[in-house]
Symmetry: C2
Subunit: 331 residues, 2 copies
């Protein structure tokens, strides 16, 4: 294993220290492993809080900042944060209007956030939870009962974060977050495996001429192995899977995320985006907004995920609202 | 070879079509292979123009936009743009105040930009050129006489672009660009090779337990091969090389770029940044601003480059000036 780390045991603490040093706009509690805005949540605003295993950077810590997350709590690589840590994040982020937990649907995360929600409520913090389960590839998987959560997490965090910033109450922010998740579908394809620092070897084996179709963000198995194919055909497979689950008609508007899994060069992601744009144009579906880049990664895995979110005017206005985080910045 | 492309022959055209579709703020001439701002260069402003081989994305196309480049002209992967293409970029970008070519010091780029400068001047466009040659690893290399150009390109393009936006004349913008290059030094370490679509196999072989110390952005050989080591030691090697060439004293201020070469996860780049920050703090050198991410890449190469630029108040003000491009956005 060749990784730019000091040791598998210190990778998360070292990376958090690096984030603290790199981003003056963040406050990183390296002991509690909680990342908040240096300026804190504005009084009276709902705090959108997320977390999960590390190894998916910039998710979630890179999305902390005005207009998006109030706090993030990263667990060890591919491992859920523990309940105490999640409660610490809720405490640090709550500004009196309650906390929305954004939880990707993996069994460990779901359980730990549930325990944390109860503990936080014992502390007098109001908590709502939204489960993100956008991955249409498989029904159940290694780490999950039901669908896995993936790229839609970014959409949920951005849109819920914008609504919280505008002063909406907890119920409204939770409702919007659930609507975004409900409108989103994802599908991923891996060209290579990925290697966690602790394991030191690839999580699965993939022959030199094969791809994993429907892979999960921890390298969980997808639907099948296939021979490598041109980008256009891979995009067609991913898009068919997404649209089979949630049809989009001519005239519908969608957010698109073409997301690199960590080891794929940006030039290839633009090739993929061209194919997505062409295929949606053929169907008369309008891409209202899009992101192309590495946002929800799986360490060094080569591959791509595609996420579509059927959108409307209100959702778009929240998408366009200003955001100021390490990984997303506009407005 | 597994890459998300349709064919090695179409990768650049497909990627440019993808960029065109993804970024409404850019105008992409896919025939001439020139990327400009959709709004054009403001009349009377100097146009900062850059280009070079593709495969280093987001460099240069991702840096086109207000406050940075007026145009970029990407060649085939790891191949210089041709003179006609560079002239087309100059023509498209010139707004009457002349054009600054930012050229990384590789033989093909230097020659083609020189021919293009003469052709553009025949057309009545005033041209100045700044050569970027910040890589201290080796004196000459496979593609270069003299030092190679690498991470400092981002600093030059940002700071020259900001000065151009403020209305400085061509001589002043060129002078500032040369000053940034003169104050910058870089050093890179590769953990893996990279694979161009045309070659279809890694450009060099690197054993599972070795790193290439001082690698170039096309995989050119560095100073030596070494056994893999902890991040702290790799950073010490890179930082020593940079500071040996340009010493920084306690109290000096520097810009820092911790740049992923394409295949390295962001979590590792933060580990590297922590080590850089610690080592500079020990020496009393102040990090005025910093970037951590994938900006000047080498396709799927795993590894990192470190760039330092000794800075002053004027340079910092230009660094902080607003920028609105696909890859850099603030202010």
């Amino acid at each position: 294993m060749k990784k730019l780390i000091n040791s598998p045991e210190t990778v998360l603490d070292d990376a958090l220290s690096g984030m603290a040093a790199a981003h003056p706009g963040l406050r990183v509690d390296t002991e509690a492993r909680v990342i908040t805005r240096a300026s804190g949540t504005r009084p009276g605003k709902v705090a959108v809080v997320s977390g999960g295993g590390s190894g998916h950077e910039p998710l979630h810590g890179g999305f902390v900042g005005a207009g998006m997350l109030a706090a993030a709590c990263p667990g060890e690589v591919f491992t859920s944060p523990v309940p105490d840590q999640i409660v610490a994040a809720a405490r640090a982020a709550d500004a009196g209007a309650g906390v929305l937990f954004v939880v990707k649907n993996y069994t460990g995360d779901v359980l730990n956030f549930q325990v944390a929600a109860e503990l936080a409520e014992d502390d007098g913090i109001r908590v709502e939870t939204v489960l993100v389960d956008d991955d249409v590839a498989v029904r159940d998987s290694t780490h999950t009962a039901g669908r896995r959560g993936t790229g839609a997490t970014l959409f949920v965090e951005k849109i819920a974060g914008a609504l919280a910033e505008q002063g909406a109450d907890l119920a409204a922010v939770a409702k919007a977050a659930r609507a975004v998740n409900g409108a989103s579908r994802s599908f991923a394809v891996a060209l290579t495996s990925c290697t966690t620092p602790a394991a030191g070897r690839p999580g699965f084996e993939l022959p030199d001429d094969e791809i994993e179709v429907g892979v999960g963000i921890h390298g969980e198995p997808g639907r099948r192995r296939e021979k490598m194919r041109p980008a256009r055909e891979i995009v067609a497979t991913a898009l068919d899977a997404v649209l089979e689950d949630q049809p989009l008609a001519a005239g519908d508007e969608t957010l698109v995320l073409v997301n690199g899994l960590g080891g794929t060069p940006l030039i290839e992601l633009y090739v993929v985006y061209k194919e997505v744009a062409d295929a949606l144009a053929e169907r008369g579906v309008r891409i209202a907004r899009r992101l192309v880049g590495n946002y929800v990664t799986s360490l060094d895995m080569a591959g791509v995920s595609l996420t579509l979110c059927r959108t409307d005017t209100d959702m778009l206005a929240l998408w366009d609202a200003p955001v100021d985080t390490p990984a997303l910045h506009w407005g």
